[in-house]
């Protein structure tokens, strides 16, 4: 940042922020209060992360910061300096035959857990964090894990089924 003679933060000014996205180091020059959501979509062209409400209610913009789900519309880029960011683009694994969907994405396809698709990237990331944290196929626990992600199409049942499948429990 820069400051005026009284030491107060002054406008300007792109600062260079360094962090990693899906394992790759990135450098972004942006004002510190730019939303992580905008940095991902506009600066880094990772448009998998969606903007729904822009105020933390809907979870469409959920990404993982150091493994933990957050709403990227509520995180300023200055707070991710040095952090590991994971977005939906990082779920599928490259292979000689092309990208291979991860188990959770596969389960969403199998169960019909996606309709219009706007909530899907955020749902997947919230669910990924839940599973990485040892989450099981327990329905109540799954519903709590995705309580911050709104879906206006599916009625949630098939999303819950998909996460349960990925957790190793067929319902």
């Amino acid at each position: 940042m820069t400051s005026d003679p009284a030491g107060r933060p002054e406008p300007d000014s792109a600062v260079t922020w360094r962090f990693s996205v899906n394992g790759d180091p990135v450098e972004v020059a942006a004002p510190g209060m730019r939303r992580l959501l905008d940095v991902l979509r506009e600066e880094l062209a990772l448009t998998g992360t969606k903007e729904g409400c822009g105020e933390g209610e809907c979870g469409a913009c959920t990404v993982l910061v150091d493994g933990v789900p957050v709403d990227s519309c509520l995180v300023p880029v200055c707070q991710v300096e040095g952090a590991r960011i994971a977005t939906v683009e990082g779920l599928a694994e490259p292979s000689p035959e092309g990208l291979v969907l991860d188990q959770l994405q596969q389960a969403f396809l199998e169960a019909g857990g996606a309709q219009c698709g706007i909530c899907t990237p955020g749902m997947l990331m919230a669910a990924r964090a839940y599973l990485d944290d040892g989450g099981t196929a327990d329905e109540d626990a799954i519903r709590e894990a995705i309580a911050g992600n709104l879906c206006r199409c599916t009625g949630y049942t098939k999303i819950v089924d998909a996460i349960a499948i990925a957790a190793g429990g067929r319902r």
Binding site: D4, R8, V75, A147, G148
Partner: protein, 295 residues
């Protein structure tokens, strides 16, 4: 696009105080901790966005949960997820853990902080009634030094606090009183991601009595606090007086519920009505007493 106010990113408390030395009531420098309130303000859709900001995320002095000198001390940047996972909180402050579990959902609990809930001073802030019934103190600091403010004196008017423009909340001290019980209840539209229509917390101690079983022991040091029923979180002192020194019998619960309905003066707003809030607060208190007494 949201506005992007200039922001300072100090790495020490001394540097943060130096930045905040330029913060005045007319031209404030707004701190950001977890950002779950203040990032909504930069959309400009709920009033003027902040003009200048200071980031607290690099200040390790504002982190950590410790038990010390008969109190649990929580750094201002303690998140709801940290509260839920803390052994010290689970052992000594189950009502605070219960409140933390109702706030937003995972994404909000991972970022939102206790200090932010206190400083934001919403009448609906869910931890605030818990802090009131547990006699918490807010330790604040700035270039002029530190001071401790009892929570009962912290919220001075609608969304106004006792914090000076150049001060930060550093930590929250909650005395661990032996034998104290506390309960929390929130009524919202759904279980997650809901702003409270009514939120209440109750604390008491069981008075000395015969070691005989049964619900006959009197309660002492009764504290009852509510959110979303006034312009700030409040203690319900007249209702406390009804409960103080008597056993939690059905008659006591009836009298306390009636006293609470008469004592509070909620308003109609987008989230609920005055009538509903008064009725549900009274019923929730009644239920809390019944559950605690076991009849």
């Amino acid at each position: 696009m949201p506005v992007e106010p200039p922001i300072a990113t100090p790495t020490s408390l001394a540097d943060a105080y130096a930045v905040l030395a330029g913060s005045t009531a007319d031209d404030p420098i707004t701190p950001i901790a977890g950002g779950t309130d203040v990032m909504v303000r930069i959309t400009g859709e709920i009033g003027a966005p902040p003009a200048r900001m200071v980031d607290l995320s690099r200040l390790d002095a504002l982190r950590g949960i410790t038990v010390d000198g008969g109190a649990v001390i929580l750094g201002a940047r303690t998140t709801y997820t940290e509260i839920r996972r803390s052994d010290a909180c689970r052992e000594h402050l189950p009502a605070l853990v219960a409140a933390a579990a109702t706030i937003g959902a995972a994404q909000i609990q991972n970022r939102g902080t206790l200090g932010g809930n206190i400083a934001n001073a919403s009448p609906a802030g869910d931890t605030l009634p818990v802090l009131l019934v547990l006699d918490a103190e807010v330790i604040v600091g700035g270039a002029r030094g530190e001071r401790s403010i009892p929570v009962a004196d912290f919220w001075v008017a609608y969304r106004r606090t006792a914090l000076a423009p150049d001060e930060l909340i550093l930590r929250i001290r909650i005395p661990v009183a032996g034998g104290r019980e506390a309960r929390f209840r929130k009524i919202g539209t759904r279980r997650a991601q809901a702003i409270s229509k009514v939120v209440l917390a109750l604390a008491w101690r069981e008075g000395p009595g015969a070691a005989t079983a049964g619900p006959a022991r009197a309660w002492t040091d009764v504290r009852l606090a509510l959110g979303s029923v006034a312009d700030r979180p409040i203690r319900a002192r007249a209702t406390e007086a009804v409960l103080e020194g008597v056993a939690p019998t059905p008659a006591t619960a009836n009298a306390a519920a009636e006293a609470l309905a008469a004592e509070i003066h909620p308003i109609d707003d987008v989230r609920s009505t005055a009538d509903y809030r008064r009725a549900v607060a009274a019923r929730a208190l009644h239920r809390m007493i019944r559950d605690a007494a076991g009849w």
